[in-house]
Amino acid sequence: MTKRKMFFRMITASLVRRRSRMLVALLAIAVGATILSGLVTIYYDVPRQMGAEFRNYGANMILLPEGSGAFDNAEVDAALSKIPAASVVGVAPYRYESVTINEQPIVAAGTHMDGARAASPYWYIDGEWPAASGELLLGKEIAEKLSTKLGAELNVRYALTEEDEDHSDLFVKENSRKMIVAGILETGGSEEEYIYMAMEDLEALTESAGELDVAELSVSGSQAELQGYADSINASLDGVTARLVKRVTQSESTVLTKLQALVLLVTVIVLALTMICVATTMTAVVTERRREIGLRKALGASDASIIWEFMGEGLLLGLVGGLLGACLGFAFAQAVSVNVFSNSIAFRPLLLPITIIVSILVTGLACILPVRSATDIDPALVLKGE
């Protein structure tokens, strides 16, 4: 039998025959590795996932026409091309026009309802979002002023004017349209003072298409990234200026930094304590074998060969425990992600070798101290049990 074969036989035999102790050690390592891989995965994923939650605060970038005037959809699309499509959460173009309902002057906004819904998730709608053409969303203030109920039919009028040579408005004709109130909007902000309708309806009413006053963008990303997008839009496009909504971006970065620091610190403390826990368990398992070490030394084994054998065992345990833990940790991170953010998590391949290496290092370190102290002592003393 070669020396190497003997080495492996001793390691495997010790693992198989001392099954219960080895299971204890393996369990300890696997628990440590699970916590390591689980928490690190969460730590890396939390900013992304939490960032998505912060999009609940609504638009963090707005596009405005350069100078006065209006811009069109093509310019919005051009601006959007500067932002990675995956980071765009919602885009809501708006066009504001004065209309009259029951002879009351009211500001009507035309928008794409799906875009508005994605860009302003906090809008609370009593009733339904307008789905079909000819449906209206009424701000709460307006609904109270007009004392209108859901489902009521309103006659929306728009006075079409034209500018003559001396820049005074010239009345041309009046368009009117009957529309149904599909929902009443509550936000607690100035949105409650407007009525909202589909862009197509407003364009039909005003007989002009393509003009926009403002576009609200909800983009996920750090403040620096957002500023980068805004700068590249401002540099390359003439018709529009992009501005960050500072209240949202600045507050988001403050809070998100804190949250990330929280998860980091929790991860560090949990990991440090867990690793010490793993080490003490390993030490206990190895210390128990002082007699065996003494016997082996008495039979003439060199210190180096004893240390190597224990290290070999530790390596094997670390490998198996680390592998087990990496998988369990990913499962845990996945469960957290699904439960907290209802979103799946990306597997980080790099974490697998890291988890295994750390487990091996911790087990190796935990083994070597008691083994060394055992080999340092005279075998006679160890065997005598003192």
Binding site: E53, Y122, R247, V255
Partner: protein
Amino acid sequence: MFFRMIRGAFTRQRGKMLMIALTIALGASLATAMLNVMFDVGDKVAQELKTYGANITVVPKAASVLDNLYEVEGGDAAEGAYLREDELGKIKTIFWAFNIVDYAPFIDTDASLADGREVNVVGTWFNHYMALPTGETLNTGVQNLRTWWDITEGRWLDESQPDDANACMVGASVAAAAGIRAGDSIRLQGPRAGTTLTVVGVYDSGDSADDQIYAPLAQVQKLSNTAGCVSSIEVSALTTPDNELALRAAKDPKSLSASQYETWYCTAYVSSICFQIQEVITDAVASPVRQVADSEGAIMEKTQLLMILITILALVGSGLGISNLVTASVMERSNEIGLMKAIGANDRAITGLVLTEIVIVGIVGAVIGYFAGFGFAQIIGHSVFGSAIEMKAMVIPIVAVLVVVVTLVGSIPAVRTLLRLDPTVVLHGR
């Protein structure tokens, strides 16, 4: 004899016992730290989210039609619909007064600068000092409600300095357009009176406030001749995320039964705080700013859930760690137990002996661990949130139960396995 054996175990096997105590202390400190942080994280995150500004606005009842729709008709459109300045202190006397973090009144008017440029002037509190009827004092105002403002020039207006009573802060767009710099004196002509103010600072807010001038409340009241009046109040309050009850109550508090009403009234829902503000301010409508209130609830819930799951992982981890080590340390004593059985000890005596040892070590470890864990929680609290984590009494029984259960779970099966073994086999060493 029993006590002598126990004492013997502790003195002679000091190293081993220390190791077990250390592991239990580590596990217990992990559990303590995580539980303390978990119970407090909601409050801490809520505090952080205050940086988004007010989550409740209060306006006069008749002014529900807001003036920026009717600015064409002039600033007097909503005349007569004002809140009373002398009632502002009452906001700090409601049931949830403790949860009101900041608030500030606002009144605005259009004024013209010396060069004829029209500008909107907002009167408010900057860092208003208030002595409350309860004996507490409070510094509140836009300085806390507009955390995202960048002071590009000069400084914040400081109400505690007498000189700043005649000062103002100018928005970046206005400053750029009119060429105003910090330190300049500007003449404002309002609809009813004029005044001269010193510019102490220029701010960049990134929103419509860049086109405005912010001045102390009294100055703007003078410009529009509205002494003692404010047109809106922004309130920043710590709230509990809404649930179904809160949503129903927000629609109509009268639809609740008496006990439901009490639950709702005594919970810090945004709707109940709004309701209580309406009770103390005459003719006011308080409504939640959905953008802030809703998002706040969602983020707080997610953070709490995240921390709960991490805590569970840490608890399971430390539980397994402790019971694992206990099992290992009991298994290792097969020789001793075999010997005791061989010289006639009964099972119960042996179990009692082993368990007593483990439980004593466990208690020592848990006590050390509790205090260490509390220290870890404070490290987290101070370095992340800059404030201490509150000590929750509830954590003590949880940690105690956890330690007792895991040590027993770790030791009893091991002891039973050993007892089942034949002493001769054990002593023979197989």
